[in-house]
């Protein structure tokens, strides 16, 4: 009785606590999203802002609502856009796989390290964030350039006579992508691996599983959620990445972020840029929603078994 009265008293406060992030998301995520969605159904116009209005209002009365589907139609019919989306997904996918292959052993090593050393190692993973992202990409340019540090060094010790082509190709693109996104893979993996009960591995060994078998049957399945979380943290921003492909990628690297930039700044075509963005968001949201539903169903399934 007292408890329920207490709960009722707490409720307004609880609502206020939830309202803050809710309001934040509403204001800075949902509202901008609908503005972009609105613009994607407009036509390019020589005006300020440079697009037509969807609503025709005269004397305070709504006269007509005109939705223009031409942008979406163009995206779906022009093969270049499809190729760009696919190319973006491909780059994001391989970046994610490489981050996972590289990040898992690192996260594992940190999680199993002496607790005193663990924080230092984690700090080292996060250390690059202390420098601006853009500066770090520029630093890579300085390293990979034909007259950059690496080529200069290799030529000075006589290992090569011609500068290696390290820059403005897929190699430099993936190298810098993996470099930039690796911490986002390591941190969620670490947080899952570190809380694993080590006695489970002892139990596996006791029951006859060698170290490799124990890793594959116990550690790996138990870190599944960390793998999913880390992969999403890398994959989602990687799809829309603009700076890295622009600065270190090859000229023929098709990335959706680059197309967006071109439409917006070079062609001044806001509606087209918006439509490109909307499709990218849908492309990312649909698999996330499906995955989420699968996970919920799996949890429920556990409950019913």
């Amino acid at each position: 009785m007292n408890m329920s009265r207490l709960m009722r008293k707490l409720k307004p406060g609880k609502g206020a606590v939830i309202a803050v992030p809710f309001f934040w998301l509403l204001l800075f995520f949902l509202v901008p999203f609908f503005i972009v969605l609105k613009i994607s159904f407009a036509e390019q116009d020589l005006a300020i802002p440079p697009f037509t209005s969807l609503l025709q209002i005269e004397d305070g009365v709504l006269q007509s609502l005109s939705l223009y589907f031409g942008n979406f139609h163009f995206i779906f019919t022009d093969g270049l856009y499809a190729a760009t989306y696919l190319s973006s997904l491909k780059v994001a996918f391989f970046t994610t796989v490489m981050c996972l292959l590289l990040g898992y052993p690192i996260a594992y090593a940190i999680a199993r390290a002496d607790p005193a050393r663990r924080n230092v190692l984690l700090m080292l993973v996060m250390l690059p964030f202390w420098t601006s992202f853009l500066l770090r990409v520029y630093a890579w340019m300085g390293l990979l350039n034909e007259t950059g540090l690496i080529n200069n060094f290799l030529m000075s010790i006589g290992l090569i006579s011609e500068p290696l082509h390290l820059f403005h190709n897929d190699f430099s693109l993936y190298l810098v992508m993996v470099y930039a996104y690796l911490p986002f893979m390591i941190l969620p993996l670490f947080s899952h691996l570190v809380k694993m009960d080590m006695r489970l591995l002892e139990a596996a060994a006791d029951l006859g599983a060698g170290p490799i078998k124990a890793f594959l049957t116990i550690t790996l399945p138990l870190s599944k959620n960390g793998i999913i979380a880390g992969s999403m943290m890398v994959f989602i921003p990687a799809v829309g990445e603009f700076v890295i492909p622009e600065l270190v990628g090859g000229t023929d690297t098709l990335m959706i972020g680059k197309v967006l930039w071109n439409e917006f700044f070079d062609n001044n075509n806001w509606p087209m840029a918006s439509a490109v963005a909307i499709i990218m968001v849908l492309m990312l949201i649909v698999p996330i929603a499906l995955l989420h539903r699968y996970e919920t169903r799996e949890l429920e399934g556990k409950g019913n078994a």
């Binding site: 006695r199 139990a203 596996a204 599983a209 409950g303």
Partner: protein
């Protein structure tokens, strides 16, 4: 064939099934296990009993292969297993708090060890079913561990550790995670299961009741050493040192020198008692040697009427009464300040038409001369 003959010959000579020979384990400067020698017979349930930090868990982990002894040997069924990795040993362990694999069903947990042995699928299924029946968990085969109660998890853990038919089963605080009521019920259930399977078993526990109920023999450990090995009754009735006497059950301990040393009796001068302790059998030791006399509370008589002064008798005041239903424990404070505990059956006073003594009353404690156990260390 030769092996079998050899083993048969060995067991005919009464060689132990498991031999722990002078095993030492050091962690840096601390010695966790300090020269333990122990022989275990086949199909025996042996309990290592001691308080936390006494080295019993380290000894168990060395048997499981999770720790390597600093020196010494472990020989199981004629084979030196001291250096074998845990996954190469014919030994399975039931972990404290069970360590069930959370992402696997009950059946998969039990099958895990069998799969490591590359057993054919049909045989695995049959063995898993057999194990589920053994612990009466067949209905729960497809559940995940977190959907089970503590008692059910314990049974799954037991089934998993028995599934490979290990030569030696290790139990680490097997019932420590259960509440008291469930623990008492499970103790006998567990012993029945172990006897049904006929497995040699070493358990580690800090709970003397658990050890006394379940084990055929008990080893008392303290500071890395085995102080005494014996059946529960031997250890309770004939402790060989003060630690054992005080660790197992409750006791009244008096220190003092031997003042009379006859072949068939001794007397100890116990300043705390205010009189001598007379014992009706001889001991091996010179006169004047410092010894301890241990008298169990159930062997201490309590009288309200004055008793003639003499050995084995002392006067005191009732300091505290612990009422425990079928009996009460009276704490009697002697003139020296020493508190003597006396266990009195609930019907004792009524049957003798005596008003039970209460706080502050003067009472007399006494015991028969055959009751004290003399300890030299």
């Amino acid at each position: 064939m030769v092996e079998t003959v050899k083993q048969a010959a060995a067991s005919a000579q009464g060689a132990p099934y498991l031999r722990i020979a002078n095993v030492v384990k050091k962690f840096g400067d601390t010695t966790a296990v300090d020269g333990v020698d122990l022989d275990i017979r086949k199909n025996e349930i042996f309990a290592l009993l001691g308080s936390s930090g006494c080295g019993k868990s380290t000894l168990l982990r060395m048997l499981a292969g999770m720790e390597r002894p600093t020196s010494g040997k472990i020989i199981l069924d004629g084979e030196d297993i001291t250096a074998l990795a845990p996954y190469d040993r014919p030994i399975n362990m039931m972990f404290q708090s069970y360590a069930l694999f959370p992402h696997m069903s009950v059946a998969d947990n039990i099958a895990f060890g069998l799969k490591q042995d590359k057993m054919p699928k049909g045989e695995i299924d049959a063995r898993v079913a057999e194990m589920l029946d053994l612990v009466q968990m067949r209905k729960y085969a497809n559940r995940k561990p977190y959907q089970l109660s503590g008692g059910q998890q314990q049974r799954v853990a037991l089934a998993r550790s028995l599934a490979k038919r290990p030569k030696l089963l290790l139990l680490d605080e097997p019932l420590g995670a259960l509440d008291k009521k469930l623990r008492q019920q499970t103790q006998l259930e567990l012993v029945n299961t172990l006897e049904q399977v006929g497995v040699t078993c070493i358990m580690v526990t800090h709970d003397q009741e658990e050890a006394m109920t379940m084990a055929t023999r008990i080893g008392i450990m303290s500071e890395g050493q085995l102080l005494q090995i014996g059946s529960p009754a031997e250890i309770y009735d004939y402790p060989n040192c003060r630690f054992t006497a005080e660790f197992i059950g409750d006791t009244n301990m008096f220190a003092g020198p031997v003042v009379v040393d006859e072949p068939d009796s001794v007397e100890i001068d116990a300043p705390e008692l205010g009189s001598r302790i007379h014992i009706d059998h001889g001991i091996t030791g010179p006169k004047g040697m410092q010894v301890w006399a241990s008298i169990r509370p159930e062997d201490v008589h309590l009288d309200v009427v004055p008793q003639p002064a003499g050995p084995n008798v002392a006067r005191g005041q009732v300091h505290d009464i612990a009422y425990l239903g079928s009996f009460s424990v009276y704490h009697v404070k002697l003139a020296s300040g020493k508190v003597v505990k006396s266990m009195v059956a609930a019907n004792h006073w009524h049957e003798n038409s005596i008003t039970p003594p209460t706080w502050g009353d003067t009472v007399y404690v006494s015991w028969r001369p055959d009751m004290p156990v003399v300890l030299t260390r």
